[in-house]
Symmetry: C2
Subunit: 473 residues, 2 copies
Amino acid sequence: MARFTESQDAQVLQDLAAQLTQGRLVSSAASMAGHSRDFADWAESGAPVAVVIVAHAHEVQAVVQVCVAHGRPVVARGAGTGLAGAANAEDGWVVIAFEEMNRIVEVNSLERYAVVQPGVINDDLRRAAAGKGLWYPPDPVSSAWSTIGGNVATNAGGLCCVKYGVTGDYVLELEVVTGTGDLVRVGRRTAKGVAGYDLASLLVGSEGTLGIITEVTLRLRPSPKPARAIVGFFPSVESAGEAVRAVAEAGITPSTFELMDRHVIAAVEAMTPIGVDQGVAALLLAKIDDAGVEGDETALAVATYFGESGATWADQSSDPAEAEALFAARRLSHTALERLGTVLSEDVCVPKSALPAMLVAVEVIAEKHDILIATVAHAGDGNLHPLLITPPGDQAARARAQVAFAELMTQAIALGGTITGEHGIGLLKRDGLLEELSDPVVSLHRQIKNALDPAGILNPGKVLGPDEVDSPA
Amino acid sequence: MARFTESQDAQVLQDLAAQLTQGRLVSSAASMAGHSRDFADWAESGAPVAVVIVAHAHEVQAVVQVCVAHGRPVVARGAGTGLAGAANAEDGWVVIAFEEMNRIVEVNSLERYAVVQPGVINDDLRRAAAGKGLWYPPDPVSSAWSTIGGNVATNAGGLCCVKYGVTGDYVLELEVVTGTGDLVRVGRRTAKGVAGYDLASLLVGSEGTLGIITEVTLRLRPSPKPARAIVGFFPSVESAGEAVRAVAEAGITPSTFELMDRHVIAAVEAMTPIGVDQGVAALLLAKIDDAGVEGDETALAVATYFGESGATWADQSSDPAEAEALFAARRLSHTALERLGTVLSEDVCVPKSALPAMLVAVEVIAEKHDILIATVAHAGDGNLHPLLITPPGDQAARARAQVAFAELMTQAIALGGTITGEHGIGLLKRDGLLEELSDPVVSLHRQIKNALDPAGILNPGKVLGPDEVDSPA
């Protein structure tokens, strides 16, 4: 992306100021820096020309129109908890910050949907829904901070996806500012509807490259039922992977099914003792929320499959507080591991049958490149987060980790999987995307991008990389 | 669409013949006529230049490439059970018929998916899945004839959508021939995945205008549990609508929730006596498939809400055969009504809270235009099928029915609904689509259509209508 001249910057700032209420346009260095990048430590970012803290959809529209007029890139930002660099600004970009567009507009218990502004924090929506006996299932580990707008833009997953699906499965309708500066609604609020192309699904997960979301209508479910927790300690990651496969093969769908390997257990134990024996190579945590006797029997079956797969200990937790402590530990994994060094988060997803092979591949790749890789996984989905940890400032280790990162993606593709289950492409996985998708499919992506963002200003270079990469030689 | 000259037709036929095995290219008048249109009696169709009965994806690709080279429109055809004219050919078009690409490639019980060719009949897939203890839920009333390719191209619904979702909710991966003649795979087979734009969802429901599907990978579920049937007789359609609203408001999700009005009951009774009193104005049929005591209590609650909403009789059916006869009657509705005249199927979908108002509007519009309108509905979804019946050959009645058809769509939009819940746009609802979608959203559709079908050969004119309609004056 070309840099811009000072006079071009000044003109953009002047035009933005003319469109916006006093105070919306922020230019303090601290605020600019705080809004310029997400949690992906390894992704590049630059200095934006302006941050606009929007309060209304029409302000978003005005900002995009100014950006179209100036050919100036614009990036939308929720809480900045992304792990792929998708929310990062480059030099001279305009950042639209949604932190103050955080109103829950409606929770409709009859139609079972919620209408929210993009800056609403995931947990706040979940609480509001619970207040009406309803439930918004998608629960990324970032749910206490991440926003619905960001969740939709990345099609965020979480712990309960294994039974209840991902963010996109709950999106009914979106209000969006398009690449031509129109403010439109796509999707619907009725239970069904097939009037025209499914543009809402196209926008979900498009990381701000096809439109900027200004309102979201989300499907809700009735409140979940109380769940039983089943815990298993395994002597190897492979045996834990076999247990996941056995449970899937039996037709059981846990409502949550998580894995932590020994590095994660040790890191969490060092931060907040959870009392897990340090000889345990992997821990599986499952929940079963089916009602009644059938749920009890299913929980028992899960513990049995754990045992048959080689667990040294497996049982239904009789102490809810103890079980919750383990799930809290799972949610703390990333924070605990950040105490050990700089974390590069992987996010591959493989068929359930390939989970044991992928877990073994992680260990092999870690050893080969002499990198500490700690793995947490939404095991029931086959979605692994191998976390590559390097000492801060160790450039050699960082270089090795980047090679390992790429090898993990290649391995996932070879096993019939994908390079990203829920974190997205952003900046970090653009090469991986070109590896996973065939050339004609990449070309379809570019055609759609060019059709919907003719000025090329919507978070350009994210997902697909710079246009030049794919241009005919 | 411009007609083609005889010499142009001859050249297309010659190029197709050069690409295809003997016997694939069909030109008998009977076969041509039998493949030229779907079940939408009121939609126009023409005489195709050729029907190609394909056996392999590469043949589909070859046909599309010939069509691209000649600028010749091509339309894909499953069983032709569509109700909007989306599969209709015009003069000179090429029809790709999928009736012989009907192989179930794989049913994978561990990963819970099925891989099928587009010509597989819905019920055949359901049987194959059941053989492995699995379930493919989407069940359009046409399930005994309609194909998975057609179901995906129209994003077909059915009776169990109210709890289990529509076709699109089950599509994992598609193999598709694009508008540039490439054979590609979009989507994924893993439980989760966010690598790139959701092109699979974009193709679902696009009625063959963005690509031609050559293979489908569908998510499966564990087998459903036995269900209880609850039947209610109501003195008015409005009171039946109120019962649906009351059940929704109580947070209950039936696994099926259907409505038949008195015209439907009478027509079915005339064909196959089901023993429903002719004084009944509307019948509600619900199923509850929650397990155990909780399911029993929910079924009882549904019967209670029926009673409180004014049902003259409401009870859980104690006789499974009797309940099945009523559901069979529901499935026979369309056939029974066709004995009364030519049927024009509506397919509006409204918020559940608007169901009583929409049911009343149907009666008002029927009376206003002196048209027999019999209504069946996936009531739990707010998805109504008012069926407009006119005496064959009565042009005046037909003209009044077309006005009523348009008014029903306008009314659905006014109530916050959509013109089509599950049948699609095809030819019959192109005007309605322009009424429902805003101009900038129609423009997004055209940009996507032009980007993915640059030669304009994929079922042109369907969904969006001719390009001219939207061009700047």
